[in-house]
Amino acid sequence: MLGFIGPNGAGKSTTIKILAGILRPDGGRVEIDGRDPFADRERHVARIGVVFGQRTQLWWDLPVGDGFTLLRDIYRVDPRRFARTRDELVGLLHLERLLDQPVRQLSLGQRMRAEIAAALLHEPDILFLDEPTIGLDAPSKLAVRDFVRRANRERGTTVLLTTHDMHDVEALAERVIVIGHGRVLADCAVEGLRAQVATARRLNDGLPEDAEDEGMTIEAVITRFYAMHGAAEA
């Protein structure tokens, strides 16, 4: 489980689009499980699932359940296997009452749960989540987080998550990559970021121990980290 963060405009979504084979990088080389995402697009996308929090992949006018069935055929999933996966996802994400509703009638929280199920129906090895909790209320955020954690632990799905909600990162990610200005600023555990920020403050302040550091919220840590690297959005 990897958290991928950076200020607005840092290139998080673009990176995901390149990793998913949607965009062709202008330069450099990408390889995932031995596949070049853009050149081997059809083979690659069969093994990944993607959720863009700000877009919808389900068909607006189709009931959720019909959309799932269409995805089954598009991904050529075996019908029995599909039924098992779908029922499991429907149970875990509490979608029972939504299956007959057209997507346009769902609330954002309901839709996001349906979107996540849609991205996992073909049992991908890797799941890319681009701001999956954007705009969600607290219970929905918790439900999404809880589900993602279980998918990662129980199914062994690799998850790459971008978000601006640092509680997502703290709750989920074992490893964090921070980018800004086109560079990797950090690649470590969340605690590593906290330590870096604390060290920098001590050096600046000349204070050996800063009581404030201990209780610093994760938002404060990230804000200071961006500021340290001059990476805050202009």
């Binding site: 689009k17 062709r24 919808t56």
Partner: protein, 278 residues
């Protein structure tokens, strides 16, 4: 991969779009009403035109020209004068990114969806038109203004085959419009440009055989004849036997060419694709 597994995504995408579009009944009735109204006007214009000319020297009789008009009005939604609005919307909203995530041929996926969209708009409208102009008008004693049957059984079957090819040909043009919409991020320009050209060159405005003699070869060979005029000529037996086969071959040729060109253009567009914003 077994053949039915190979085509499964495309069949499902076609069926889903087709069935979904069939639900828009009010749009079908409204379209039908408009097409009857315009059809009526065109029939009256044709009648006046035939009354003032030496009808015997015309390549189509008045009854045939009237039948052509009803046929053309019924098949109006078959004309490739608009890109697929779902594709245009996906381009505007960036949902096109999700289309790139499906493990299927990207051109073929859009093609079958657009074909489902076209077919679901044509079928109810042409059925209603047939009932109105082919059944109701004769029953009302307006035989001479009615939709007449095809020249024969062979002409009828040939017409059905040709109409099916017209669906594929039209979809391959719709795909070109889709690709231009994707490349220019907006569908309006290309739609405005396509409309008048398609209406005239398909034969919808006036049967192509009524246009000047000197233009006839060019008119018949140009690609848009295949979406309306060639099926109609086969229906009337103007193209019979070997000529009908040549007509079907010509449709097939233009399908192959515009699919090949569309795939090339789509590949180029997708390499340059930018999906902007979060």
């Amino acid at each position: 991969m077994a053949p039915h597994e190979l085509v499964r995504p495309y069949v499902a995408a076609f069926a889903s779009r087709f069935l979904q579009m069939l639900q828009y009944r009010t749009a079908a009735y409204a379209g039908f009403a408009t097409q009857c109204w315009w059809g009526g006007i065109k029939v009256m214009v044709l009648a006046a035109f035939y009354g003032g000319a030496a009808a015997a020297s015309m390549p189509l009789s008045l009854a045939q020209a009237i039948t052509y008009t009803w046929l053309a009005q019924g098949l109006l939604a078959l004309l490739p004068w608009l890109g697929d609005p779902e594709v245009a919307q996906a381009v505007r909203s960036g949902a096109v990114a999700y289309d790139r995530l499906r493990p299927v041929d990207a051109y073929a996926l859009w093609f079958v969806r657009s074909a489902g969209w076209v077919a679901a708009r044509v079928l109810p409208r042409v059925a209603l038109m047939l009932v109105f102009a082919g059944v109701a008008l004769p029953l009302a004693g307006l035989d001479e203004w009615a939709w007449q049957p095809p020249a024969g059984v062979v002409a009828g079957v040939g017409f059905l085959v040709s109409a099916l090819l017209a669906l594929l040909l039209s979809t391959s043009f719709v795909m070109l419009l889709n690709i231009v919409a994707a490349a220019s991020l907006n569908e309006r320009g290309i739609n405005a440009l396509a409309g008048p050209i398609v209406i005239v060159l398909s034969g919808n405005l006036l049967p192509l055989s009524l246009l000047p003699d000197a233009w006839q070869t060019t008119l018949l060979l140009q690609p848009l004849a295949g979406v309306m005029d060639i099926p109609a000529r086969i229906y009337f037996g103007q193209l019979g036997g070997a000529q009908a086969l040549a007509g079907l071959g010509l449709q097939f040729f233009w399908i192959a060419l515009s699919v090949a060109f569309g795939r090339l253009a789509m590949g180029r567009t997708m390499r340059r694709l930018e999906v902007q914003g979060g």
